[in-house]
């Protein structure tokens, strides 16, 4: 073929960007620069203000890792369902709430039986199991009502249905269980702190962190090693092709919802142990943050969910002290949630594909 018209004026990277970019990219760049500047100013102020000691920051970090591992567990449910269905389970946060209440009732029953005090290390797994069962069952119901009927339809129906289910769950739970805060009975041994490598850490944080790690390791093993995990990965890759090679796609979807719900149930129980109070409306905020963690890590990516959860937890724990304090705002901890939700928006501004995501940038081609 004829000569390639390139040699003479090979454009630089910047002019190439200018050629390709549209006004959207330009405005976005401006937003990015101003957000980054804002954070840097806050950070500089926070570091020089010296309100908090190094020990404070260490304890913030510990707390951030704990809450982060809970976010990671919630994020897994979003990410798994998204990986398979390319849809967001809007009611996932409320699944977590149901799991938390299932754990509450299990703890209550075990406490009445005297088991919590007698065999605390047996009671904890039992409560976790109850939470997992509750979360998985609720997740299955949601799949049945909001997703399965619309499996072959391109529409917003599943999303609207899931929004509806979220409200059904919240307000049915409110009617059933009441609005007051509740705590798991009998877990008194969790009061107090232990000294770990010279750091003073509250016991529930250690328990929650370790339990989250164990569950996550189990899940990763399941997905990487078991036949079910293989089938799940196949369906995530290409649903039709998976069906052609004989994988029962419906069953895989059901299993995915069940596992995601179980993870949320674990998150609900651990949350209850760390914060010592649960309400029927807690699923909403935690659901949004779990979702933020999922897209922060790169939605559809299990490792990303873990990373995203921890990063979000740390940002939320350290952010008020580090950044908001720097602006001299009064009571920065009131704005903890702003950091959490703000992270969600920031990811979308800076890197919509998430930290570990590459494949699913703005849309799938």
């Amino acid at each position: 073929m004829s000569e390639v018209p390139r040699s003479a004026t090979e454009p630089g990277a910047f002019s190439e960007w200018l050629r390709r970019s549209t006004w959207v990219d330009h405005v976005l760049l401006a937003i990015r620069i101003s957000v980054a500047a804002l954070v840097l100013v806050g950070l500089a102020g926070g570091l020089t203000a010296g309100t908090y000691s190094a020990a404070d920051f260490v304890s913030f970090t510990m707390f951030g890792l704990t809450i982060g591992s809970i976010y990671a567990l919630i994020a897994l449910g979003y990410t798994m369902v998204y990986g398979i269905l390319r849809m967001i389970n809007f009611a996932h946060g409320d699944v977590m709430m149901i799991g938390s209440f299932a754990g509450l009732f299990a703890a209550g029953a075990l406490n009445d039986a005297g088991l919590v005090n007698a065999l605390p290390l047996l009671a904890l797994p039992l409560v976790l199991a109850a939470g997992m069962a509750g979360g998985a069952a609720m997740s299955l119901i949601i799949e049945r009502i909001a997703y399965r009927p619309f499996l072959h339809v391109r529409s917003l129906a599943p999303l609207i249905c899931a929004i509806g289910m979220s409200f059904v769950l919240q307000y049915a739970a409110r009617g059933l269980f009441g609005t007051r805060n509740r705590a798991y009975p009998g877990f008194g041994w969790m009061e107090g702190t232990v000294s770990l490598f010279g750091l003073i850490v509250p016991i529930p944080q250690i328990v929650a962190f370790i339990a989250a790690l164990i569950v996550l390791a189990g899940l990763l093993a399941l997905v990487k090693l078991s036949p079910l995990g293989k089938a799940m990965r196949a369906v995530a890759e290409d649903r039709d092709a998976a069906a052609l090679v004989g994988i029962n796609v419906g069953a895989v979807i059901v299993a995915t919802f069940a596992i995601g719900g179980a993870m949320a149930g674990v998150a609900g129980v651990l949350y209850a142990l760390v914060f010592k109070q649960i309400t029927v409306f807690m699923g909403f905020a935690l659901g949004v943050k779990g979702f933020a963690a999922a897209i922060l890590g790169g939605i559809g990516n299990l490792g990303g969910a873990l990373l995203g959860g921890l990063v979000l937890g740390l940002a939320e724990a350290l952010g008020p002290a580090l950044v908001l304090e720097g602006f001299g705002l009064p009571a920065p901890y009131q704005l903890k949630d702003v950091i959490g939700y703000g992270m969600l928006v920031m990811i979308l501004i800076f890197r919509p594909q998430g930290l570990l995501g590459e494949r699913l940038a703005s849309k799938r081609a």
Binding site: M87, R154, S155, L156, Q334, V338, K363
Partner: protein, 557 residues
């Protein structure tokens, strides 16, 4: 995938079990529904509302409807027309089963206390479910299954009767129910009318309909339906269309004169309905036309409300003290600006991220407004008070009726704008984007720009609604701006019909007006919203609403 794939291939034919097992299952389902209804506290709450004075309460009707529905389904679900005995037997079995479930609950509550776990399992519930029989007596336990069986038979017979009479009965019953439920509205209307009631004959008692009036209404409703059917069968379709147009005009006239003929409470409710209509029109552009699921709508509502609050308040936080008519455009522009700024990063990613991201936005605004950090400017949880009422021609719009007309007029303006846009270049671009985003883009439509425009306009309308809200309430507090407002608006659109302007009106009346008038519903409002959203999607969403948000694997082809 072509659009033919929109119709689901997933209509599973129901597996046929033994008829009796199926009937028992239907009955058990109704029973569980009844138990759920009781345990979420709805039974006790709605037991206070008498539909027919001293005879029937709302929760009794709800229970009866569940048993009748069970009997109806059990009686109907056979091939061909059901035979008489079969209808009776299966209806009775289904109703009996439902009644047994409730009896079991009653027995359980009587023997152990569930209150530690389930707050609604109270002595009041036991008393209410005993229907006046001595608590814990055999009669209390037996009468429920017996009643259930009876109602089940009625349901079965209902299924078996000719549809003409079935419809007539439904009409009559609906007339009684509506009259009983909205007693307060009708009483207030009757009070404003010249005294037509005879001295010793009152339609309404202190709680609900009087028995005689209920009977008259039942018969009248049924007769009306039968006569109308006969009338409709005779006349030609053109005249029928004209009469339905007349119905629409009648509805509009009703909407216009409503606050004049009733009391201030009803006018207040009407004002709220108009306000939500205004918001519904705004979200309709985003969701109904452009297919954007926006749950952060309330954030722009808050921007509008706080703008007016700061500009029109005579309190200490005011930054200006100008007329509402100056503040309104400022509020709209600020809300639109906020929408544009926030929309840009969110709108270039996947459609269903939007629901979550906007949810986060709504909460960010609420937390910010509530925080101590901004309290010196926005009042924190104390809010901003003493907002001046709007004045027009020197008259202060203060009464609920005046503010109702203000909101209604704005809603009309917004409706007009959305109607115009819908039939212009940009409206067609929105619809095309909703149908197939890739193809629309290949035709030269900038997807981010057109979505951003829809989002900005929606935000501007939300800001206008917020401005009106601040003016009519006279004060703003952070707790007025919860996510639930967004959900209200979303539900109005989904229930009323996406993209349809009359749908917004109907949705706002059904979802905002009715629960306000039915105080007993208040607590369970969002539960019913949730159920309604799910039910709507199952009953009529498929195909009616193909959207842009799905994956685009087929583009590779």
């Amino acid at each position: 995938m072509s659009f033919n794939a929109v119709t689901s291939s997933f209509k599973v034919t129901r597996r046929r079990r033994a008829p009796l097992a199926e009937t028992l299952q239907v009955g058990a389902l109704a029973g569980f529904a009844a138990i759920g209804f009781a345990l979420i506290g709805a039974y006790v709450a709605m037991d206070k509302r008498h539909v027919v004075e001293d005879t029937l309460t709302l929760s009794q009707i709800a229970f009866a409807l569940m048993a009748i529905a069970a009997g109806y389904v059990a009686g109907r679900d056979r091939q061909g027309r059901p035979s008489g005995t079969r209808v009776v037997v299966h209806g009775a079995v289904a109703g009996l089963m439902a009644g047994l479930c409730v009896s079991a609950l009653l027995l359980l509550m009587g023997s152990i206390s569930l209150r530690a776990t389930l707050v609604a399992a109270s002595p009041m519930l036991i008393k209410a479910l005993s229907l006046g029989a001595p608590i814990g007596s055999l009669q209390a336990l037996v009468q429920l299954p017996a009643l259930g069986a009876l109602l089940g038979v009625i349901g079965g017979l209902f299924a078996a009767m000719p549809s003409r009479y079935r419809r007539a009965l439904t009409y009559g019953f609906a007339a009684v129910l509506i009259a009983g439920l909205f007693r307060d509205v009708f009483v207030s209307v009757l009070e404003n009318l010249p005294d037509l009631n005879g001295p010793d004959w009152e339609v309404f008692g202190p709680g609900g309909l009087n028995r005689g009036a209920a009977l008259v209404l039942l018969v009248a409703g049924g007769l009306f339906c039968l006569l109308r059917d006969r009338w409709n069968a005779r006349i030609d379709p053109a005249r029928r269309a004209r009469s339905s147009k007349a119905g629409l005009v009648l509805l509009l006239v009703g909407v216009l004169v409503l606050p004049l003929v009733t009391n201030d409470f009803v006018a207040q409710v009407a004002m709220l309905v108009a306000l939500y209509m205004l918001m519904g029109m705004g979200l309709n552009i985003e969701l109904g036309l452009a297919g954007l699921v926006d749950l952060g709508f309330v954030a722009f509502f808050a921007v509008g409300a706080y703008t007016v609050a700061l500009m029109c308040s005579s309190g200490p936080l005011a930054v200006a003290d100008v007329s509402f008519w100056v503040a309104l455009p400022v509020a709209v522009v600020l809300a639109a600006g906020a929408g544009m700024l926030f929309g840009l990063p969110v709108l270039r990613v996947r459609g269903d991220y939007l629901a979550m991201a906007t949810l986060g936005l709504g909460e960010i605004i609420r937390v910010l407004v509530l925080s101590d950090a901004l309290a010196p400017y926005l009042g924190g949880s104390q809010g901003i008070i003493e907002i001046d009422h709007p004045r027009i021609f020197g008259i202060s719009l203060q009464s609920p009726a005046a503010l109702y007309y203000l909101a209604l007029a704005l809603a009309g303006v917004v409706a007009f704008i959305s109607w115009r846009l819908q039939h212009a270049r940009i409206g067609r671009a929105w619809l095309a984007m909703r149908e197939d985003e890739d193809v629309a883009q290949a035709l030269g439509i900038d997807p981010v720009a057109s979505k951003l425009l829809a989002y900005t306009i929606g935000a501007a309308f939300a800001g206008a609604a917020g401005a009106v809200f601040a003016a009519l309430v006279g004060s703003v507090y952070p707790h007025s701006f919860q996510l639930l407002v967004s959900i209200n608006v979303l539900a109005i659109l989904v229930i009323g019909g996406l993209g349809s302007l009359p749908g917004v009106l109907v949705g706002a009346i059904v979802l905002i007006g009715l629960p306000e008038l039915l105080r007993e519903f208040g607590e369970f409002r969002y539960l019913f919203y949730g159920i309604a959203l799910v039910a709507m999607m199952h009953v009529r969403a498929e195909g009616l609403w193909p959207a842009t948000t799905q994956t685009k694997e087929n583009a590779r082809a």
